[in-house]
Symmetry: C2
Subunit: 143 residues, 2 copies
């Protein structure tokens, strides 16, 4: 497995331990992690604190994003895909898109490379969370 | 002029006083402001702290957004438009789109109502900022 996806999964598990939604994200440049984060809607009462947004916040003002790769345990939604498109991230690698299809078409239409690892652990983690906390999950994706 | 746009302009001016980019945003439900914010990229070193994101963060977990209206002094970029689309905000009112065209087509394609007030004060405020700080502005929109 891709080691950076493993770190994203660690982030997701941190979120779960905190009582949050288990989605993690990592930003990579030249083989090094320059940002990481996990969903904190529940922990911070912040609907914008999606994993990818927290990760990009953690990375800070990195300047040009064209040589960065964004990892997420789950296919990004329109909020997070919007960040990818706006800041010119060219490559997104996700753990899975079975439990949430996200904004994959929006990213592909904007020339982003999207690779789906179809990772069994990521799928199982979200399936379990959605089953146990459907109302929080639906709130997180605005549905 | 729309009073809520005036509040968004107040937010933009607060940001400018703090040394930041003068963009402000307000979230309205049933004629009342339920969130407000301004761009804090410079102040917080946070590239995700666009005005609309800060506004939605300030509003907190408001549940359903379908009866809310998002005001911004400037046409939202893809990040902020992504939030609008993902969370089901149906109506966006902007001060201007002269200095930045933003993601208006993306919002229109997703059925969002977008009203451009073509406000002279909003235009002048951004024109001046972009002229004086082109590098910060370009960084803010990832270009």
């Amino acid at each position: 497995m891709d080691n950076f996806l493993l770190v994203a999964i660690e982030e997701a598990k941190l979120g779960l331990e905190e009582g949050g939604i288990p989605i993690g994200s990592v930003l990579v440049r030249s083989g090094s992690i320059i940002g990481r984060g996990h969903n904190r809607r529940v922990q911070h009462g912040d609907p914008m604190a999606h994993a990818e947004i927290e990760c990009l916040r953690d990375a800070g003002r990195v300047g040009n994003y064209s040589d960065t790769v964004l990892y997420s345990t789950l296919m990004p939604c329109h909020l997070c895909a919007g960040a990818v498109v706006q800041f010119g991230i060219k490559s997104v690698i996700v753990g899975e898109s079975v439990t949430f299809g996200g904004a994959v078409d929006f990213m592909l239409d904007n020339g982003i490379s999207v690779k789906d690892m179809k990772d069994a652990e990521c799928i199982a983690m979200m399936e379990r969370y959605i089953k146990e906390h459907p109302e929080i999950w639906n709130e997180d994706i605005g549905s």
